[in-house]
Amino acid sequence: MASGKKQFQRLARQLFKLSLVDDAVSPERVGGVLAYVERHHPAHARALLQSYHRLIAAELARGRADVEHAGAVPQLTLDAIAAAMTKRYQRPVTAAARRNDALLAGLRIRIGDDVYESSVAAQLSALGASV
C-alpha cells in the first residue's frame, strides 16, 4: 500500500514536471497530461489526479499574488506589486485583488506560503499583543 502510494506520488510529480514550460504551468501541457490519464487509466487514478492537482495549485499559487485590500486599489498599484514580486521571486507573478474590509485600510499579499501585510488591522493587533 505504501509502495503504491509512493508510486502514484512519484508519477504525479513526473506529470507535474511535464506540465511546466519555462518554470510556468502551461495549460496545453496540463491538458495533455489530463488526456493521457483519461486515455490510459493508470492505477490509483483518483489519488494520482488529486496529488497532481495539489502540485499544480501550489505552483499556480507560487506564481500568483493574492492581494487583500480595504478600500480602492488602482490597477497601477496591482501591477507594481506584481512587478515587485516577480523581481523578488525571479518568476512570473500575477496579482489578484480581493476585498477584505476587516483590514480597515492597507494591504495583505499572499504568495504561496509567504504573507506580506501592511494594514491598520495588523498594526492594531500588534499593538494589542504588545500591551
Binding site: H69, G71, A72, A80, I81, A105, L107, V120, G128
Partner: protein, 207 residues
C-alpha cells in the same frame, strides 16, 4: 577435750588400785624400817586378805574390761565426737565463707546498683538531650516549612496579581483595539483608505 574426759574417768576407776598400791608402799616402807623386808609384803597381803591369784585375776579382768570399753564404747564415741566437732568446724568455716561471700555479693550488688544508677542517669541525660535536639529540629523544620509556605503563598499571590494585571491589560487592549477598529471602520473615508493603500503598496514593494 573428749580424750581428757576419758583419761579422767580412767583415773577415777584406777584410784582404788592406786590407793592400794600406795598403802602397800607404806606398809613396805614400815616393814623395811623395822627390818622385816622379806615378810612385810606377805604380811600385809595376809592382813588385808589379798590373794595373789585373785589380785592378778582382778587386774586382768579390769584390763580386759577397760580394753573392751576403749575399743567398743569410748573409741566410737570419740570418733562421733570428733566427727561432730569437725562438722561444727566445717559449719563455722562455711558460715564464715558464706558471710564473706555475702559481703562480696553485697559489695558487688552495691557496685552494680551504683553503676546502674550512673548508667540510668546517663541514659536519662542522653534521652533528654535527644528529645531537646529533636524538639529543636522539629521547631526549625516547622519554622522552615512555615516560611516556605509563606514564601510560596506570597509568590502565588504575586503571580495571581501579575496574571490578573496581564489579563486586565489584555482585556483592555482588546477592548481598545475593538473600539478603535469600529471607530476606524466608520470614520475612515475611501480617500484615507486609498492613501493608506498606496503607502502600504509602496512599503511592501520596497521591502
Amino acid at each position: 577435750m573428749a580424750r581428757a574426759a576419758f583419761f579422767i574417768r580412767i583415773t577415777v576407776m584406777l584410784s582404788p588400785l592406786l590407793l592400794l598400791a600406795e598403802a602397800t608402799g607404806h606398809v613396805a616402807e614400815a616393814s623395811a624400817a623395822h627390818g622385816e623386808a622379806g615378810s612385810g609384803i606377805t604380811k600385809i597381803f595376809q592382813d588385808f586378805g589379798i590373794s595373789w591369784p585373785f589380785f592378778l585375776a582382778q587386774v586382768l579382768n579390769f584390763s580386759l574390761v577397760a580394753f573392751i570399753l576403749w575399743k567398743f564404747a569410748f573409741k566410737p564415741v570419740m570418733a562421733t565426737l570428733d566427727e561432730r566437732q569437725k562438722k561444727i568446724a566445717d559449719g563455722l568455716r562455711y558460715t564464715e565463707e558464706m558471710q564473706a561471700k555475702l559481703a562480696a555479693a553485697q559489695q558487688e550488688s552495691s557496685t552494680i546498683v551504683h553503676n546502674s544508677q550512673v548508667e540510668a542517669a546517663r541514659i536519662i541525660d542522653e534521652a533528654r538531650r535527644a528529645a531537646k535536639e529533636y524538639l529543636d529540629k522539629q521547631t526549625r523544620e516547622a519554622a522552615t516549612q512555615a516560611n516556605d509556605l509563606l514564601a510560596k503563598a506570597r509568590q502565588a499571590v504575586e503571580l495571581e496579581h501579575k496574571k490578573m494585571l496581564a489579563e486586565t491589560r489584555g482585556e483592555i487592549a482588546r477592548l481598545v483595539v475593538a473600539t478603535t477598529e469600529r471607530v476606524l471602520a466608520k470614520k475612515l473615508s475611501d480617500a484615507d483608505r486609498a492613501a493608506y493603500n498606496d503607502a502600504a503598496a509602496h512599503e511592501l514593494t520596497g521591502v
